[in-house]
Symmetry: C2
Subunit: 350 residues, 2 copies
DNA sequence: TATCTGTGCTCGAACCTACAG
DNA sequence: ACTGTAGGTTCGAGCACAGAT
């Protein structure tokens, strides 16, 4: 071994990474002993173990994960298929998954899918399973319910927020509970009814929120105003918000997420309608900055951390004990956070 | 649960994934021929090739990436070390990296580092290199300049937005150009000076923005007001914003990012100071929702897409042709987007 | 002669079992 | 109770060479 500092700056190219055999040679032991040390077996004398460890340190030995995976048949990698990581919810779920995976000694192979076409998702899944993963988390993929969709090879799959058909084990935020809480909160303040600014129709989460809003109104005997769909952006919130702002009978709006609510706030402001004096607004998500909107937003807080944790837990359970796929979906409860954007309706004029 | 469809229906748990040999057996050829087909060699008769391909389809054959990596010495995986994916900038950079990597046939092994300690970063890097990556992208890690920091093993590294010491090839947004543009824009509107609501002091990007702001004021002969530091949140923007709002001599503020600006907007609103009539506010990032703040925010748009693309390009260049590490940092230009939050200062009172 | 295709072998790096000092 | 040796395992890549057409 003629050396060359591989370490920091220099990285002298062509020296192949040290193998067990190199460590063994340097420590003056057999590679078998190196293996025993690497795998933390007990039957190695402390003095020998120390010698091997120091040789590892000197050479900068790292075990070859490919060879390891080959023999063990386990990669210690979880695949994650996600859409738009730019969306707070997905990003936070991803972060939580990352944390949980790391704690369990797994790393993440992440694929961000561009568009929600079946082909794109299929390809992403293919890429991951073809790659080297022990399990798969699919975040909010509304494609999963398509009958044609399948996951090749027996890789365990867990779906976060989005498997209406329950074809896979899933972990879901209780969208219905959150939407119901928001709607009831507004009704409870005395509003005659609550309008809904819905998320995209192809989003399962959005549909569930809308359905719960509808049900809550029905249950309270309140009239059900027409439902407006947007995508998840502030832009759409503004666009649709302008129409809502123009209707004097609108006194309370439940937006399907905080960004929509933000656009709505701007539209209302421009139309000269005060929040919450004239119109109450509630959102969904509780983004960190929602408390700093004008006015601070009443919203439903999602526990992304818990969703991520549960996903990894379920996946690892399946990986470690295949077949133990408890099928019941895990449901994570959200929480209504009341701030300044909701209040009783203005005194009726007639 | 002794069975039940795992995935697309079949995939009975304990069947080990089909190997080349299985395909060979089914197709009635040798595994050598299967290998030739798998690697797209020319010397296989079309009819035979088709037979093999169909056998692959029937069995759902996917080549074992571990074995492949072992022989080829290449994993086709890039590692990404990132902080808080919840931050828009990082999320967008990550998404762009993902896109670029996918195009090149690489997948991403992502580690989200919790806290910016040297230990945490070291561990993340260790985890990835110990795992199986051909290269490493480190996003905005202000730890890299610490003298002790090193990347083990000869894995190529590229740093996105944050290698002050230039110890690694890097791709950077031109923070200085952006901050200068924002500051000059405000001065150009007639403001006597511009205050700065800075990002965290340990952020290299934040420091560069502050330095450029400072320099732009100096160059224009404007007085340099005291610099206030926050973290990147709307919360801190609000906290510090309240102090700024209380000072009548503040007529223009350049915030180090859009979230800080959002908090500032709220503080100004609460203090009864109108934006932009009384105070002008500019941000940095151009979040998708920045156009829907009240008022729509003038800000500096970062081209995260380009940053991500360049990172992958540089990394692949190093991987494919080691030693060719063109050291000059790649710089990506940002762009000032003028909206409604900036205007000339109020008429001087004396 | 040239083009397929099969056989049989080695290599990569680690793990594991068994057995012997 | 340690440690070494020896051999077989994982799966695919890729070589040399022999038959077949």
């Amino acid at each position: 071994m003629q050396q060359g500092p591989t370490a920091d700056g220099t990285a002298r190219g062509r020296t192949r990474p040290p193998s067990q055999a190199d460590v063994a040679a340097l420590a003056g032991v057999s590679s078998q002993t190196v293996s025993r040390v690497a795998n933390n077996r007990s039957n190695v004398e402390p003095e020998t173990r120390e010698r091997v460890l120091s040789a590892m340190r000197v050479l900068g030995y790292q075990r070859n994960s490919a060879a390891r995976a080959l023999t063990l048949g386990r990669f210690h990698v979880l695949g994650v298929v996600t859409f738009d990581v730019t969306a707070q919810g997905n990003a936070r779920t991803l972060a939580a998954i990352s944390r949980a995976a790391q704690r369990a000694g797994y790393s993440l192979n992440v694929v961000c899918v561009e568009d929600q076409t079946e082909r794109a998702v299929q390809q992403a899944v293919r890429q991951l399973t073809d790659q080297a993963v022990d399990g798969l988390v699919v975040i909010e993929a509304q494609i999963l319910d398509r009958p044609g969709f399948s996951v090749t090879s027996g890789v365990p799959v867990v779906v976060a927020d989005g498997d209406p058909e329950r074809r896979f084990p899933s972990v879901d935020t209780d969208q219905a509970a959150g939407a119901t809480a928001a709607t009831r909160h507004l009704l409870g303040l005395g509003h005659r009814t609550v309008w809904h600014l819905g998320g995209p129709q192809d989003s399962y989460a959005a549909r569930r929120r809308a359905a719960a809003w509808h049900a809550a109104l029905k249950a309270a005997g309140a009239p059900v105003p027409p439902l407006r769909y947007g995508d998840w952006t502030a832009e759409d919130g503004y666009r649709i918000g302008r129409e809502l702002a123009a209707r004097p009978d609108v006194t309370a709006v439940f937006a399907a997420n905080d960004h929509l609510a933000l656009g709505l706030l701007r539209a209302l402001h421009e139309a000269g309608r005060r929040v919450p004096e004239d119109v109450s607004v509630a959102g969904f998500d509780d983004l960190p900055e929602a408390a700093y909107y004008l006015p601070p937003l009443t919203t439903v807080r999602q526990d992304f951390e818990e969703v991520g944790r549960q996903c990894v837990a379920r996946l690892l359970a399946q990986i470690e004990a295949p077949g133990t796929a408890g099928d019941a979906p895990v449901v994570v409860a959200p929480e209504l956070v009341v701030r300044a954007s909701t209040a009783p309706p203005p005194a009726p004029r007639g």
